[in-house]
Point group: C2
Chain length 278, copies 2
Amino acid sequence: MAKSSVDLPDFASGAVWLVGAGPGDPGLLTLLAAHALAQADVVVYDALVDKRILALARAGARLVYAGKRGGKPSPKQPDISAKLVRLARQKRRVLRLKGGDPFVFGRGGEEALALVAAGVPFRVVPGVTAGIGGAAYAGIPATHRAINAAVTLVTGHGTEGDLPDGLDWTALARGAPVLVIYMALKHLDAIVRRLRDGGRAADEPVAVIAHATTPRQQVVETTLGACVADVARAKLEPPAVVVVGGVVRLRAGLDWQGAAAGRVLEADPLRLLPRATG
Amino acid sequence: MAKSSVDLPDFASGAVWLVGAGPGDPGLLTLLAAHALAQADVVVYDALVDKRILALARAGARLVYAGKRGGKPSPKQPDISAKLVRLARQKRRVLRLKGGDPFVFGRGGEEALALVAAGVPFRVVPGVTAGIGGAAYAGIPATHRAINAAVTLVTGHGTEGDLPDGLDWTALARGAPVLVIYMALKHLDAIVRRLRDGGRAADEPVAVIAHATTPRQQVVETTLGACVADVARAKLEPPAVVVVGGVVRLRAGLDWQGAAAGRVLEADPLRLLPRATG
């Protein structure tokens, strides 16, 4: 572990830090997140935060679970926000720890607005977002010059657990050469249908990455046409991100975790690519 | 600084780690990045890597500048890749350090493929990407449930320094409720024109964030119609990211850095929003 000479800001009593824990690998925590864990009086954490990360909390810190997981009774968003306000008013150092980045499908903005309404000071600590970091651990770059100058992050879960409203999937399908879909498993079938309706080809490469960056990471390389069946066959479980687009082909060359385990990488994985896809 | 009990992987001699340094604030370095800096024999770094981050390199480590900056003669991409291979073959621990995330407009994939071709083992360490982390430091969430279920990251620089080829800007403009544009200043005028042609309104909120997350951070809140003039007036200089879309309005409530300096935040910054924009 590096002895860091970085000046890190004071975690004041009565403040809330909204912190991203990254995709899972504790090595992807930021210095600020580790600093916050070492100082917080209370850590209010989500289901997707790795146990090895929670283990970094200061001895004596109170750990409060605020996860939302199917099956279990889960705290509602206003309840979580009210709890953060209450703890801050008790002059605690309150660490709100979320998987990935708090501002990428993490509802960090909603919680922060509740803090503002209550006059509670806060700080945001971005984290490595699961879609980009998870893809990197699968050997897939979110962007690659020969393939895409844009990447779209999209959530497969709307407000009520259904597909998000108000997304123009046809325009998304046309405009985004590469899509990274968060929380994609539940509605994968519907998402695939919309992307196909929007003009994406059945043989377009797709990677489904479950438990990205953790020891349980599982990657299924498939296509848009086959992914629903392949995901069912592999019995993948959430959380998972789905990458759609030409960059998935690079995994044959860039699967560095696979290489460490003996996979022979291709130096020219784009050899078979018919043409740049945008 | 937290005393971390995280197990971090060995940095083997003869290996190259492609590491993201995050947007600038050294607190946004990952534990893996700090670990790599503490162990590397050679650090090959880009122009956008903060000096306070380079200061974390092991005493005695060689620092090699590989930046590309207008004005100075800049190493070409194949030269950089060849240098990484050469250093690895000399059995050095080679840290290739890039601003932001190596796989988000960072050419990490190209360098990694060169390593694969040369048989050099490598590892990828994702970083907080500048567009998302930089926006968070400006008080702007990349996503917010009431506003957008998708965000598109796009680069304003193509292969030859012009606008990237092959992007369907009309479809992007239609499909992406929120756009985060990297390296956007040089061609801002052309980008705005294309987004307007694609149907985006002149009064759509825009934030331009220069030197995000550093002490030199500068934010201009403007609109699509006014941003070119406003950027010129504010004399903003690269690097900058541009955020286009409804989430920019949240800055009035979520500018936590501004609040620390005395700005009064609005608890309901969406009050004036005519409707959800996608």
